[in-house]
């Protein structure tokens, strides 16, 4: 069941990464690399609608079909509507499916309500121009008739009164009569949100000002912080504007559908279930890896590079069950990072170490624009190419990233050296390959052997526990 490597998407031109022509070789091109399909690891994985034979037509159809069940009668022809997106959606499968969903939402709203003042507002995290880059790349500005904008958390704010006090949103997110929350169910930073209110989280992140984000990451603790987004969403200010939510439903194999609802919490429960089930299996499997050289090879900042839907930051924490809320502190969150003293030792007991299975990281292609020095301080890292090192050195968020890294001229040299010092030939590439893991043959065989046991453990033991911790009755989804 080991196959030829799946070629990853090409590098993306962006101010946050090196020019595509400087990425001279991809991990998938290394000798001895193979691919393990998600469906070979987990034969019960949900079928995907994209990628597939009918391409983006499937996304358009699914969005239209799902939106049929949504009430849009509150939107009158003279009203304004902000369709709210987030930059992360565009990192999924090259971004085209998310862009297609955003286009379809506009069409449906226009057809059903007669409303013409429909705008697209796309939030970002720490790379303030990233959404602007995607809007341009996918022609969304034209599609939304010049009314598409990237919004950043330092832009003008608006105070939002909530159950726990005043929090702050971005003014341009809320400057319409109605808002439509257009997001995706990709689990991504489970180390931060712990799959608690995943579908609500953008109200405390992508649509929020720096004060709110800082509250989430500094004021409430690694698990309580998830309440920030709910507090904002539940506020009278947001409720008065909220029309519906439309989500691209993701799994480690690809897009499994589109879901839409006027009730965000009902959608949230479905997102929680699917996320825990599908990503839960993949993360538990990655947690079984005993040793590996990890290659970063995807157009995203260091923690966000993907392997079968799982980001590198979560592999760095895969020595813990990130879904288990009884475990207070994952090996990597900003709370965890804050708890290390200047000597590199934890300030308190119980700070879990970064996944010791990661022997060496090879930074073949990853962006700046996210504080990532934590990773190079904790894991031996080799950066490929001077241009890449220079990019990080110029990044205000990564002034000490290369302090602890080695520099290699090319990928082959880096891999040879890594194998020698790590004493392993197991390689795992975080290259965003779709529906598959690109790995060395030895690791591929290892994963195929471990997967059935992991699958049984998640279905029988872990999934019911994870759902109960989140207030979801497992019997609702026929799990007991």
């Amino acid at each position: 069941m080991l196959r030829a490597p799946v070629m990853p998407l090409p590098p993306r031109r962006s101010q946050y990464g090196v020019a595509p022509e400087l990425v001279r070789k991809r991990a998938a091109e290394l000798p001895d690399m193979v691919s393990v399909l998600v469906r070979d690891l987990f034969p019960d994985a949900a079928p995907v609608i994209y990628p597939g034979e009918n391409g983006l037509e499937m996304i358009r159809e699914a969005t239209r079909k799902q939106m049929e069940k949504v009430d849009l009668s509150m939107i009158k022809p003279g009203d304004s509507v902000n369709v709210l997106g987030s930059h992360h959606g565009f990192t999924l499968l090259g971004g085209a499916p998310y862009a297609e969903m955003l286009r379809t939402i506009r069409d449906v709203v226009r057809e059903r309500t007669g409303c013409t003042d429909i705008r697209l507002r796309v939030g970002v995290g720490l790379r303030f121009r990233e959404s602007e880059e995607y809007i341009k790349a996918f022609g969304l500005d034209e599609y939304y008739e010049g009314k598409a904008a990237g919004v950043a958390p330092v832009d003008e704010g608006v105070a939002i009164e909530t159950e726990i006090g005043t929090l702050y949103g971005i003014k341009r997110i809320y400057d319409a009569r109605w808002i439509i929350h257009a997001h995706n169910s990709d689990v991504r930073e489970v180390h931060f949100h712990r799959q608690v209110d995943r579908a609500v989280k953008p109200f405390g992140m992508s649509y929020a000002r720096i004060e709110t984000r800082s509250t989430y990451h500094q004021n409430l603790g690694p698990r309580a912080a998830n309440f920030v987004a709910r507090a904002i969403f539940d506020s009278p200010f947001v409720q008065e504007k909220f029309a519906c939510a439309v989500f691209l439903m993701m799994s480690p194999s690809g897009v499994v559908g589109v879901d839409a609802d006027n009730d965000l919490y009902a959608l949230n429960d479905r997102v929680t279930y699917l996320g825990c089930r599908d990503y839960g299996k993949m993360m538990t499997l990655l947690g079984e890896i005993d040793e590996a050289i990890t290659i970063l090879d995807f157009p995203s900042p260091v923690p966000y590079v993907f392997a079968a839907g799982v980001i590198f930051a979560n592999f760095a924490g895969a020595n813990r069950d990130l879904f288990d809320l009884d475990d207070p502190l994952p090996p990597y969150t900003w709370y965890t990072e804050a708890f290390y003293g200047e000597d590199g030792q934890p300030l308190i007991e119980g700070v879990p170490p970064v996944n010791p299975a990661i022997k060496v990281v090879i930074h073949n292609y990853a962006w700046g624009g996210y504080p990532s020095a934590f990773f190079t301080e904790h894991i031996p890292t080799i950066v490929v190419g001077r241009e890449q090192a220079e990019l990080l050195n110029r990044d205000p968020q990564n002034i000490s990233y290369t302090k602890h890294t080695l520099l290699a001229e090319d990928l082959d040299t880096a891999v040879r050296f890594a194998k020698r010092v790590a004493g392993t030939d197991k390689i795992l590439a975080f290259d965003g390959a779709s529906g598959a893991l690109n790995v060395s043959r030895s690791l591929g065989e290892y994963l195929l052997q471990k997967a059935p046991l992991v699958s049984r453990r998640v279905d029988g033991e872990l999934l019911p526990k994870w759902l109960k911790q989140r207030g979801i009755d497992p019997s609702r989804f026929k799990i007991c």
Partner: protein, 204 residues
Amino acid sequence: MRAVTLYAVVDVDKCKGCTRCERVCPVLAIKVENKKAVVDPQNCLGCANCEQRCPEMAITMAPLEQSRVVHESLAEVDMAAVIDLCRRAHLHPKQIICYCTATRAGEVAAAVLRGAKSPEEISRRTGVRTGCKVECIQPVLRLLHAAGIAPERPARGYQWYGLTPTVWDIPEEVKKKYAQRGFYFDEDRKLLDSLVGAGEKGGE
């Protein structure tokens, strides 16, 4: 601590004088004069906030001929006062509060004790808020608040809006209402308290 290696350069032909850069600069180092943005290179910490938000793409970041380090020294400060201020803000002096610059609470507390009265002044002295510019405003405001200082917001600026709640402020009825939905308020408060109260390993 912040190593400063870059500074902002304005292309005056492109600048339309919209003042966006002035409103987002965390250290007030860029100002619009006669409808053109002007950078004070002595004070610019190279954070690229202005470059990232200028609607005209009129700003680029250029390397400084000589890099410098911005740092509030803890050498001659009353450490007991630093520890006390941090604890009142529910912070451990050695905990990182700015992930990009690895600035720790103690350094910011020292800046406050030495007279910094606003987030902008604190940023100028420690470099905090000049990396991602997003995540560290609350601990800065918490430390000022704990010192009894109510800073004044830059007029019309977007640098910051206000102090927000902490886990120590969550009303009991909110905790009760959401207890079954995966929000671990009391448990996380306990975790943060254990850090705040952790041994003087961090405080010395």
